[in-house]
Point group: C2
Chain length 156, copies 2
């Protein structure tokens, strides 16, 4: 998977832009919890265990970037609060989170194995994050090549 | 993609473990550069633009975890130095990096489009990071379910 990257500028790198938003451990853990179905501040806080001000900042960033949206709710006898729901843009991060988790399952899990499995709801088979092209399906890493895309910025 | 996560402990979460190693922006950018073919300290430093001590720390962490390995080289007239090569464990992060980049290409790229494209070396078709099961191939996010894996720790 080689490209002579030195001829191209990296200031518009999509990975870098993604990481500027979600490339922070607490933020990715908030997303993990959101994908696990959590929506409320106290639930996020309990399961992630980070400081409340850190969590509030991370949630605000995710809302600002349209990854989570606020939705008001009111428990009987309490004041109105907001819960946090994944948008389509947020759910689209599932592939990346599954791929990161899968790598951890493979190289870092306890001997007992993965704590959580992603399965196909219909057949129950395990789900894997893979790289594929439409014609040939799953590819090995050595089958990949990188090329300059339409947005590549050639350095003079 | 829901699981009632509250019954399970998250201290063995594979995503968290992955992020403890690579969940830091500079580290993921070092990996991006390694996948782009870069191997030498000065080349990493030039293209990433981070401080040299930060880069040295990140490279040491990646070596420590077996994601990069040091390989000595010597330019004529210079002292011996080490370059950094991806191990199999490191290359296995390609799927996760491709998935993060693909999300950025979709939601954050300039109007011109993605700066870099991953293609199948053989046919030139674009490569996508997808979630799939062996029987049914590519799945949509709403087709997924989460279940407790063999390493799940039930909270009493």
């Amino acid at each position: 998977m080689l490209l002579n990257g030195s001829e191209y500028g990296t200031d518009n790198c999509s990975l870098m832009r993604t990481l500027e938003i979600v490339g922070e451990r607490w933020t990715l853990l908030v997303l993990r919890e959101a994908l696990l179905g959590r929506r409320r501040f106290d639930d996020f806080q309990r399961s992630i265990g980070c400081a409340r001000n850190v969590l509030a900042t991370r949630l605000a960033t995710l809302v600002e970037h349209g990854i989570l949206r606020r939705e008001p709710y009111r428990e009987p006898g309490s004041r109105r609060r907001d819960e946090y729901r994944l948008t389509e843009k947020g759910r689209a991060l599932s592939t990346a989170l599954a791929a990161l988790t899968q790598w951890g399952d493979r190289y870092l899990a306890d001997p007992a194995g993965a704590p959580i499995e992603v399965v196909h709801r219909e057949c129950g088979d395990p789900v894997r994050a893979i790289l594929a092209c439409d014609r040939h399906g799953e590819l090995r890493i050595r089958d990949l090549a990188l090329k300059a895309g339409p947005g590549a910025k050639r350095i003079a």
